[in-house]
């Protein structure tokens, strides 16, 4: 059995590192766990590191975009970081555009982006 994906605290943000392969049910569990964790900790930002993940298909794509929408409802921003170039290309060929998913090259850039977006929000 695949274990649940751990959710770590990284400063004011939550960090999730996805492994090489994820069962569908594990991905759905992550969606639930993140919802609970965001509301419990009142987190303002979520980073999802997919640099190890080898496949984003229509199911995983939908989970990522559902997580982003759900987080938004709870007033948190989500950034998906580290998507492999081959995964990005395949997504395009699959015809899957993820309009609600914000991406960044790597974790550092993702952190910067979140901080920026939250700063702007705070000032506005």
């Amino acid at each position: 059995m695949q274990n649940n994906i751990p959710i770590l605290k990284l400063g004011d943000f939550l960090l999730v590192t996805i492994q090489m392969d994820v069962h569908d049910r594990t991905a759905l569990q992550l969606q639930d766990d993140l919802t609970n964790e965001i509301s419990k900790r009142r987190s303002k930002g979520v980073l999802i590191d997919i640099s190890n993940l080898e496949v984003v298909d229509s199911f995983m794509g939908r989970v990522l975009s559902d997580i982003a929408s759900m987080a938004k409802v709870l007033d948190a921003e989500t950034v998906v970081v580290g998507m492999r170039p081959a995964v990005a290309m395949t997504l395009v060929e699959l015809g899957l555009s993820l309009p609600s998913v914000v991406t960044a090259l790597n974790l550092e850039r993702g952190m910067e982006l979140l901080t920026q977006r939250l700063g702007r929000k705070g000032n506005g």
């Binding site: 392969d21 069962h23 569908d24 496949v55 229509s58 081959a86 290309m89 699959l94 015809g95 899957l96």
Partner: protein
Amino acid sequence: MGNEESFRESLRLRSDKDVSKARVLISQWAVRQEFSVIERTRAMTAVSEIARNCVVYAGGGTMYVSSLYHEGAPGFRIQIVDQGPGIPDVDQSMKRGYSTGGGLGLGMEGARNLCRAFRVESNAGAGTTITMDYWK
């Protein structure tokens, strides 16, 4: 590894865990045949779509992988076979956005774009066989 040309593997597909095993199996085939990373990712993604359809819409089935040569180029053939309800209108099922399961209706058309050759054999009530070929 014995005679590569007659090498054939099968995998039962019953659950989301088997869909994950299917991705891993195809990854091993692509690595063994020294496919590029992008081609390996395409094959894993296409298999993921079709194997999941098999589990979700037909209650499960079997995946077969065998080696092939296309005009001298090495590759592999993936067949996903089920005895489920079949697809009454294959052309319609291939259209982007068509889904009877509340999905995005991307899987079939997407998988077709991600392989060299794609074939659907299906009859209402008589199950579905989907064949996807990869070669270098």
